[in-house]
Amino acid sequence: MNLSRQQQEEHIRRIMELYGDLLYRMSLSVVGNSSDAEDMVQDTLVTYLTEAPEFPDEAHEKQWLVKVVRNNSLMLVRKQKNRERILSEQSRVSTGKDADYGILDVLQTLPDKYRAVLVLFYVEEYSAEEIAKVLKKSVSAVKMRLKRGREMLAERYKERNQ
């Protein structure tokens, strides 16, 4: 299937309209800074234009995009020699509110597998079944990660704010 420049633009504008924030937040939860997260969204769009298969419906398309942005973000993080450098960058996640900054900061300290399920479940309001499909895990594994991730997040947040 050949896409003209106009069609390409239409496609990615539609993607950005529908899933832009979702992809950004997913990436942000992994890479921990906004500039890298934006780059990962852009990489995902490029992948979409060059490699995306035909999707039977929007749900499949969304699922594919979430997978790609997460994989791209994980690869970026793995490439970083020192993860602490990412956390200490000036463009670190911040909303300007101390409390909000705190919870996202704590979120960055969790292992990737917990971060992904927490963001998808509590922020993007995915069901456990949907998360299981995206992450290719069993529903029970997703629920277990949710439980542990939540406990870990609460524990660390509490420690930080004591």
Binding site: S4, R25, Q42
Partner: protein, 263 residues
């Protein structure tokens, strides 16, 4: 407030600004060619997974073949050591039948170049330059023709002569009560009498002529005691042949047998 609510609130506020969206879209458009043709679905054999699996399988097959040949070589060496030490009395009927079939199969694999192969169900031998001859009970001989002999027999060896005396010598060896595998090490003619010197196959002979011990299934016929004496004394079997004036062919007129082999 629960942490999950805090998380939802904080993450919910993380949104792309309009500038960021434009930046992302324009950046993505710059990075792809103006006309993108989405790749068509490739057949399964073009997939990287198939390539990896194929390469893996090929590597396994090569490894298996390599290991097989190594094990054959190693097993052969071990068997040589075993057979040179083991007496022939242990030759079982089943083993002999097995050897027969192997011998027959090996006889068919003789190289046609530079060889003179003869088969009479039980005896195989080969003659060509720089090669010795194996005579004896074919049931105990395997594929002489496939062995490379690095050592020449004797400088005086006349291969034409050898060819004509070969058959009577072979028959003579076959007629021995207990024919052992022999190596024909020398053929010479003096005053019309042809002398053929044969040596029974022992581990020493195999080593000397660089023969493959697989030639002689079960090793020497000599018992360990006789073998020891033979290796000390170096006994041989010497066959004398004369030309029959009537038929023109050679016949055995006398033989000096190795005392440790018996006749």
């Amino acid at each position: 407030m629960k942490v999950e609510d805090l998380l939802k609130e904080a993450m919910g506020e993380q949104k792309l600004s309009e500038d960021a969206r434009e930046r992302i879209v324009s950046g993505a458009l710059k990075r792809v060619p103006e006309t993108v043709s989405k790749p068509e679905k490739q057949p399964f054999y073009c997939s990287p997974l198939f390539r990896r699996v194929s390469v893996g399988l090929c590597a396994c097959i090569v490894l298996f073949i390599g290991l097989y040949y190594i094990s054959v070589i190693r097993f052969g060496e071990t068997k040589n050591a075993d057979t040179s030490a083991a007496p022939m009395e242990s030759d079982a009927v089943g083993e002999r039948e097995k050897d027969e079939s192997k011998s027959a199969a090996n006889a068919q694999t003789l190289s046609p170049v530079g060889e003179s192969a003869y088969s009479k169900d039980t005896v195989y031998y080969k003659i060509s330059s720089d090669q010795v001859m194996i005579l004896g009970n074919g049931k105990t001989i395997k594929a002489p023709g496939t062995t490379e002999y690095a050592e020449p027999t004797t400088e005086s060896q006349d291969f034409d002569l050898l060819n004509v005396v070969l058959e009577p010598v072979r028959k003579y060896v076959e007629d021995l009560k207990e024919p052992a595998p022999y190596v024909l090490i020398e053929v010479s003619e003096e005053n019309g009498v042809v002398k053929a010197v044969l040596e029974p196959v022992t581990s020493d002979v195999l080593n000397e002529y660089k023969l493959d011990s697989d030639l002689v299934q079960g090793g020497t016929y000599l018992s360990p005691e006789l073998k020891e004496k033979k290796e000390e004394d170096g006994g041989t079997l010497t066959v004398y042949l004369e030309k029959d004036p009537e038929t023109g062919s050679y016949r055995v007129v006398s033989a000096i047998s190795d005392p440790y082999i018996g006749k």
